[in-house]
């Protein structure tokens, strides 16, 4: 029905999670209607982000330098590490203003069914940080989903073995079960931080 370049654009847009064929078509026509300047600004922004944004060498958060802005910040408390699944999970936690420690981004959650095993996540690096530096507490803030819970239990076991002096905590059950952390509101997430319990 469409010219091949239009079809290709629709196909690429439909790869976004939650964007179906119909919405992708609508977005494509928006780009066709838009000025060259506006459409190419999006293309350039995608290219720039893939070229300049990488992962922090220490915590694996997003970073444009070798280390991220939080790891570079001397005022952050190095005693407490917050472990999250994805870089996008750092944002809602920062927004609560409840946490002044540092982060560790796993890069996903354990899910043997999907072929995600401990060696696919940044768990070795986490255990290294926890046992070598003066870390007092690790807050496990993986999602309140089956895979997030399984990951939390796995981490608690691994840390009891490798760094028994470190307290491992988990966000309180303020989070609605089955939901993703990325969508939690500040108040619920703040409560969950204050009510964290030892694993």
């Amino acid at each position: 029905m469409f010219a091949p370049p239009v079809n290709r654009l629709i196909t690429e847009l439909a790869r976004f999670p939650g964007i179906g064929q119909r919405t992708a078509q609508r977005l494509a026509f928006h780009l066709l209607r838009a000025s060259d300047e506006e459409a190419l600004a999006l293309a350039d922004a995608i290219r720039e982000v893939k070229e300049t944004v990488g992962h922090c060498e220490i915590c694996f958060n997003l970073a444009t330098d070798p280390t991220c802005r939080i790891c570079q910040d001397e005022r952050r408390d190095g005693d407490v590490l917050c472990v999250v699944e994805e870089p996008s999970d750092v944002i809602p936690i920062e927004r609560t203003n409840e946490f002044r420690g540092r982060y560790h981004v796993l890069g996903g959650a354990l899910s043997p069914i999907d072929g995600v095993d401990p060696e696919d996540l940044h768990i070795v690096e986490l255990l290294g940080r926890v046992s070598s530096n003066g870390v007092r507490e690790v807050v496990v803030a993986t999602n309140a989903t089956t895979t997030g819970e399984a990951t939390a239990l796995y981490l608690a076991d691994a840390m009891r073995e490798r760094a028994p002096a470190v307290t491992v905590t988990r966000l309180a059950s303020g989070l609605p079960v089955g939901s993703d952390l990325e969508y939690a509101d500040e108040i619920t997430l703040g409560k969950a931080f204050r009510g964290r319990r030892e694993l």
Copy 2:
């Protein structure tokens, strides 16, 4: 909160109609997580579409050649022209299989409040096509919105003056009032085609 390239990507994504700040953030993180290959395929598809897709010289539909595939198709009936607001409106009409004529894309609808006057649309070109070629009927398929209706009435007046022999029709009231043509289902739109009435 984010690195500048990430913020820039979110800003560009939030320009899409119906995509808010939150969704734009989610789409941006999807692109950050995606492989370079997948993300750059989208950037390239946007660039390609803006470089290769232009407007048909005859009907102003989208085209990768000087004229579009419908204008190039000898089997299409040159007696009947269907006038639509946007290139995206051609698709749902083609899908009904009710129409075998040719199109004319106005490039919008009259809206003095938004500064869209007759000279901003391809109305002169439409009147030229209608008075010089053997056009028998013009089906006005602008949206069933206030601006779409106003455009239809304006076109009916203009054509009565310039080409009094041509019959001007309007899609039947099968379309729910206030809705955009782009979202109509095939059956409703097919009925509207069959029930078109003279203006």
